[in-house]
Subunit: 204 residues, 2 copies
């Protein structure tokens, strides 16, 4: 009985260290993840391979992919388009592979709309987590700095509430350990496996 | 910010090995669980201590506890009552401790009604999990044995669907590892921590 793979979406505020955590996951081969290859209109850099590093396409091709609903999400960055093709992701999941997407919070929001069954992890800045402790020593910071920090925290919490898990990136090793536990737990969640049990009984 | 503890309910079909897995969890001190002490009307055995092994009460006291809604669940077994007092469980959770309840499936159902936020783990017989494989070698068993097994499996799956996680008890070590991952993941689930983040911002 081939079980559908997990779509794991790793996101969080810019600067939180999503890329570093993803690299650690890739290196730490405990996770048998597949990785989604992005589509882009920017030119390949020396050594980059089409279909491995990116799918390199023209602006017209990219716009056609948008129009046909072939992208899970996309954005523009310094004049180029970047997006996540939906086809390869769905094919890998159907084949029972887990897929990891590391993506900014706007992209994650769009992925949630199209694939609500994904597991969404909000990588949390340690200073959001420790804000409480630090605020107890207010003497060391100006009231303006503190107000600004609280306002930013409020915004981050508003984003966090649409995620399934919040993993504090205090150290990369801790974050990877937590993500590993989340993947393991999600693989034995009843909502994800009950259909294969039901099917097994029905077919016999 | 004291976070509410997790109520972990470990259940499953009789004979699946709930007690063995619980003992392994108690021995394996990686889990800082508190354990609920049951209330019973049976007489203490030599060496048993009131309040440690059980709360030993009279039938009248037990019935009063039922009437006052002081039991999370209870049942009768060879003429004696056994039940789970709700007060100590709620106090431990409020103090931020995780609480483990090992309990039969009828008891688990009642606990779910009263404490829907608990984490419910269905310990799954390995032969339910491997039924599929074994049914492929039908030649070795009579059709009647196979029918009976499938019927039992259907019933177990009906119970399983009300749980959060299904952990196959193929080896105790594997089951404990999975339970550990579940506890770790649940501790970083957004639904469990978002309130403490919101409170932190609001109070500053």
């Amino acid at each position: 009985m081939t079980k559908q793979g997990l779509l794991l979406v790793l996101s969080g505020p810019s600067g939180v260290g999503k890329g570093t955590v993803k690299s650690a996951i890739v290196k730490n081969k405990v996770f048998p993840f597949e990785y989604s290859v992005s589509m882009t209109t920017r030119a390949p850099r020396p050594g980059e391979v089409d279909g491995r590093d990116y799918y390199f396409v023209t602006v017209a091709e990219f716009k056609a992919a948008i129009a046909q609903g072939n992208l899970l999400e996309y954005n523009q960055y310094v004049g180029n388009y970047y997006g996540t093709p939906v086809g390869p992701v769905k094919a890998m999941l159907a084949a029972g592979h887990d897929v990891l997407l590391e993506i900014d919070v706007n992209g994650a929001k769009k992925v949630r709309e199209k694939m609500p069954d994904g597991v969404f992890i909000f990588l949390t800045p340690p200073d959001l987590h420790t804000l409480h402790l630090r605020l107890e020593n207010r003497g060391t910071e100006t009231e303006e700095v503190i107000r600004g920090r609280i306002e930013q925290a409020s915004k981050e919490i508003l984003v966090m509430q649409d995620y399934d898990y919040t993993v504090v990136n205090d150290t990369v090793a801790n974050a990877v350990d937590h993500i590993k536990a989340i993947v393991e737990a999600e693989h034995v969640s009843v909502s994800r496996v009950i259909d294969s049990y039901r099917k097994m009984v029905k077919e016999n």
